[in-house]
Amino acid sequence: MTDALYYARRYPLGVIGALILIVFVLTAIFAGVVAPMDPLTTNARASLAPPSHIYWIGADMMGRDMLSRMIHGARISLAVALGATCIGSGLGAMLGLASGYLGGWFDLIVQRIAEIMQSLPLLVMALVITASLGPSLTNTIIAIAIPLIPNVARVIRANVLSLRELNYVEAARAIGMGRTRIALVHIFPNTLAPLIVLATAQLGSTILTEASLSFLGLGVPEPYPSWGRMLSESAAEYIHSAPWLVIFPGLAISMVVFGANLFGDALRDILDPRQGD
């Protein structure tokens, strides 16, 4: 507890980031309680209603309350962003670790596959995956996570390659440590710093990929609200006539990304003992 207070004083920006994330996560969890209206109920008379005391941040074309839709949308957007980032970064880190540490033919094959995947646009790959799996929340997460793997794997591999040559790895071998244990005790913890930075940077792009997928009808199916789709659906048509439809989802996405980046930076520093005293 005293540790937490100490770090909080040392990394005020990290605290702000954490608070932003906590607010969004709590909103997502308690969406049913917090939202003033039902996010799916339409009202023809309120179509494109500007912000007012009833519709705090306006209503969409179908007359659905934007605030309620945003609050419920937090569930889906955060689930997709966190889920895809965790799965993608986790698998990528494991592959990168194995690839960099084992080397040889395994490394060769993994890296060639990663190159093939990287040569395809992220969205196209996600499209192919959802198209074959069918649209659903889980499939969207999977479809966004898989294209993340090669990037993470390559960064971690490069890091492992330099770590592998360090003296303490050699020293660990000289005291009789096995390969697996060296990889887990000495190499993996040292790759966490770049992994965290990479993962927080990817949070934002996953939300946007989800938006693109939903826009094309391959993301989270209608009528469930997601920030990405709310943004992309209204961006073209209503940016002039009803800008609140674009501004608020955009704001929410940037807030989450901003919060995640601040928190990630602080976390990276805290996890590095050299910054400790």
Partner: protein, 321 residues
């Protein structure tokens, strides 16, 4: 007393694009418990490769130990499979490295890293392993070991880290300790402390020490016996006292002459050995030192001189002496 470490006919090569590099050729020596043997030579003469061969840590490929045996307390390490060898490393034969700054993992406390070593080789609880780590830190004379064990490597000075490395290497009481240039990266006062420490621990624990260095001052102070290596071969061997008093091989004579002497008089030029260590993938046919040797004759170019006993407890490989 039977030697703890017996190396015979050790040969290590590297298969490189530039050809076969003979890093270690037919090197034999033995060390008794509590004895210090120094391996001396210039950079690139095969000292470190000999050490890594003893530990079987030669990067392979391209390296390969092609011949010889390395017996620790009677067990030939070169005959063991990798899991068995892993058990030997640390518990029977341990090594400390040149660079104490990077030889410890920056993310783990020093105590944890030493304890990790204990739990690797002995079936003890984590608490017992931690206690052993503190005990060992005390042993290597680190003040306030309980507190230091909780610290990270960056919080320690170079000398302190080198002691922590020694603690890690010795915590499982290996029979043989290989110290590869253990003091090169430290400043002179710390060097003396670390060397004293290695000497004391050797006496207390009865460890056989193989000290690898290019610093003849260090050798004179700490080693009982020494071997001189040149271009991957052993060229001279004997007790330290004998070799310093009567250097036989022109190479050792040159090395000793090139050490600056206090009070040698102003304007006295330091003697040097002309030329360079030959490339190990392109060794001359005869004595590898012949191209740099002022005493060389035709015979030296033709055949490699055998190691012969020149005086009691003193052998050298030179046609001319």
């Amino acid at each position: 007393m039977a030697p703890v470490l017996e190396v015979s006919g050790l040969s290590t090569v590297f298969h490189t694009r530039a050809g076969l590099v003979r890093a270690v050729q037919d090197v034999s020596f033995s060390v008794e418990a509590g004895e210090t043997l120094a391996i001396v030579g210039e950079s690139g003469c095969g000292k470190t490769m000999t050490a890594l061969s003893l530990m079987r840590l030669i990067p392979s490929p391209p390296g390969e130990i092609v011949a010889g045996s390395v017996k620790v307390a009677g067990t030939d390490l070169l005959q063991l499979d990798e899991p068995a060898m892993r058990k030997m490393r640390g518990s029977q034969i341990a090594m400390i490295f040149q660079e104490p700054m990077t030889a410890l993992n920056p993310l783990l406390t020093v105590g944890r890293q030493i304890a990790e070593m204990v739990s690797l080789h002995e079936n003890v609880s984590r608490r017992a392993a931690d206690a052993r780590a503190v005990e060992m830190l005390r042993h290597v004379r680190i003040p306030a070991p309980e507190r230091r064990a909780m610290e990270y490597p960056h919080q320690m000075s170079g000398g302190m880290r080198q002691r922590a490395m020694i603690a890690m290497a010795l915590v499982c009481r290996p029979k043989v300790l290989i110290a590869d240039e253990p003091t090169t990266a430290l400043d002179v006062t710390i060097q003396a402390q670390v060397l004293d420490l290695i000497g004391d621990l050797r006496r207390e624990l009865g460890t056989a020490v193989v000290l690898i260095t290019h610093d003849l001052g260090v050798v004179a102070e700490t080693a009982d016996r020494m071997i001189v290596m040149y271009a991957g071969r052993k060229v001279e061997e004997g007790t330290t006292k004998e070799l310093f008093a009567h250097p036989n091989h022109p190479y050792l004579q040159g090395l000793l002459a090139s050490v600056p002497k206090f009070g040698a008089g102003e304007g006295t030029r330091l003697r040097e050995i002309p030329g360079m260590v030959p490339a190990l993938n392109n060794l001359p046919q005869g004595c590898a030192f012949a191209p740099r040797c002022s005493a060389a004759v035709a015979k030296c170019q033709e055949a490699i001189p055998p190691l012969e006993t020149k005086r009691p407890g003193h052998a050298a490989a030179c046609w001319m002496s």
